[in-house]
Amino acid sequence: MSDLVLKDVRKAFGKTEVIHGIDLHVTDGEFVVFVGPSGCGKSTLLRMIAGLEEISGGDVVIGDETVNDIAPSDRGIAMVFQSYALYPHKDVYGNMAFALRHAGEDKKLINERVRKAADILGLEHLLKRRPKELSGGQRQRVAIGRAIVRDPEIFLFDEPLSNLDAALRVQMRVELLRLHQRLETTMIYVTHDQVEAMTLADRIVVLRDGRIEQVGTPLELYHHPRNAFVAGFIGSPKMNFLAAERQGATTVTTHGSAQIEVPVEARDGTGPVTLGIRPEHVEMVAPEEGTLSGEVLVAERLGGETYLHVDLGNEEPFVVKADGGVMQKTGERIGLRFPPQALHLFDEDGTAFEHRERHALIA
């Protein structure tokens, strides 16, 4: 058993603190994704777990051992880097065997482990090649193979797919999922790509400015974001936000007239709030039937679906995900209707109002 526990972990560079007390418990075998905009500290946090950055405060515990002062190689981790970081002067076999050779392992064991990892990743025929003779996807596979060979308790991935082209990224994503199913090892994965986060993770950790914004399963974050930041970060295209005024416990008005009832836990008081709804949940109706209506500014046609950017008089256009076959063109007026259960409400600080009912998919 090798749970990973972070207790009030902090990191400061000189006087500037970049990680402000992170608490997290990753159970054995979990696939956890750290996601956040660039500069949020996700890579730094990963490097602290790896032991490549000093820990300024708090504890990192792997299994039942506090590893703050333990060298990276003794933490039972293996790391896969964004730039692959293969040793250019060694062939694929040499790269994969390097750590074990260095640890003075038996040659037969090394050979066995390298062959096995190469078999898992389909690298057998490439073992004699140098890194520069490999394609990007193959290099990344070697980098992953090098991690597998070490048989770690925890895999750490630092944006491993961001140097690959789109098609390859999708393919490698699936391979990573299958690898996780096969190895059943804890994996911690850093990315800025929310699609990778949604598809790979058992649990997602959303970070901003060195703080955890929310931890949860992908669907939990999607359906029950704790605040406006998470709501905006998870989902693509991002959630629409409308400035609104709270009238009663759960009733808001937006754009002057439109009265909307949001099924959230009631709170006292009135005042400015933000209404959120995802583009895929908006219903498109005739202009006069809609709660709100506006003019189509741009229609992005992807074939299977169409993103309509609608002008509601706000700074940012309101995005509606519509069917690929919609006829509406630029300049036409359309009406918008919001299914109540898909609405999100955030107070002035951006904190979400709790939904009265949890989404059916989330137990």
């Binding site: 790896a50 190689s73 880097f81 730039s83 970081a85 040793y87 750590a99 260095h102």
Partner: protein, 290 residues
């Protein structure tokens, strides 16, 4: 149809590039001749007798003028081989120290965050701007106090100091471009900082090391100043100094001078041949590789 304009454009492009290439080659050829001329004259005349050298300095050695007297004088003169050995020892040891210490310093400056890093790197490369010969008197006093005058060690110290600034400068710049991931990866793999330097960083900077080696080697091998001042005893003379023995106050044994110079060129050529393949990629790697 559409091919026609393309072809003409490419033909024009080709003729233009042919013109450029011709100019470039003419310049390079001219420079090569100017640079090689003295060397060739030295080598040619080293195979002639005294008469041949003075009557027709530019002629090839003919049956009448051909002679190996210069070489036989030089090689029979026992001390010349000693000087030759001195030069080799001083150059090779200095070069080794420059590369090792320079690369280590550059690694530290480019890899580790520590206070005074910036000041230290400026301090290290300040030597590029200050000619070491300005300090000759102080160096001599120092060597006298350390009792190192007339030893090869004194020369090795001086040359190491002379070569380090440029080595640190070039290597630091290059090492900054190395990916941090690969060193981190080695750390995760359990390598000590020293082994990361020797097993990961050094192989990656090999081309640059070759470049630095060639740049540092030539001034050391050719130097006359410091051997004359610090190590002019018979046992510690270097080749450049040793040649002087054939230059007397009244007569100069030109055959011997030219022969010894010709021999002195050899090791530089050999070392250059060893390094040159790496050298090209070293010089261009900073510019071409992103």
């Amino acid at each position: 149809m559409t091919d026609t304009p393309d072809t003409s454009r490419s033909r024009r492009g080709r003729s233009k590039s042919w013109g450029t290439a011709a100019t470039v080659h003419a310049v390079l050829l001219g420079y090569t001749i100017i640079a090689l001329f003295p060397v060739i004259v030295v080598i040619l005349n080293s195979f002639k007798n005294r008469r041949g050298i003075f009557t027709e300095p530019l002629a090839l050695p003919g049956p009448e003028t051909f002679s190996l007297e210069g070489y036989s004088t030089v090689l029979s003169e026992g001390s010349f081989l000693l000087y030759y050995g001195n030069s080799l020892i001083v150059t090779v040891v200095s070069l080794f120290l420059i590369l090792l210490l320079g690369a280590m310093a550059a690694h530290a400056l480019s890899e580790y965050r520590f206070r005074l890093n910036g000041i230290l790197s400026v301090y290290m490369i300040l030597g590029i701007m200050v000619p070491i010969r300005l300090g000759t008197v102080a160096i001599l006093q120092l060597m006298v106090q350390l009792d190192l005058v007339n030893t090869l060690v004194s020369l090795i110290f001086v040359y190491t100091a002379q070569g380090l600034p440029i080595a640190v400068f070039i290597l630091t710049e290059f090492m900054r471009t190395l990916s941090r991931d690969i060193k981190d990866c080695a750390r995760v793999d359990g390598l000590s900082e020293y082994r990361i330097f020797f097993e990961v960083v050094l192989p990656l900077v090999r081309p640059v090391l070759a470049t630095v080696a060639v740049f540092s080697m030539i001034p050391i091998w050719n130097d006359l100043w410091f051997p004359l001042i610090l190590a002019s005893s018979d046992a510690t003379k270097t080749v450049t100094l040793g040649v002087q023995q054939f230059i007397g106050q009244y007569t100069v044994n030109w055959s011997a001078v030219l022969a010894s110079l010709s021999i002195a060129i050899l090791p530089v050529l050999v070392l250059y041949a060893i390094f040159s393949r790496q050298l090209i990629s070293g010089i261009t790697s900073g510019a071409v590789k992103g």
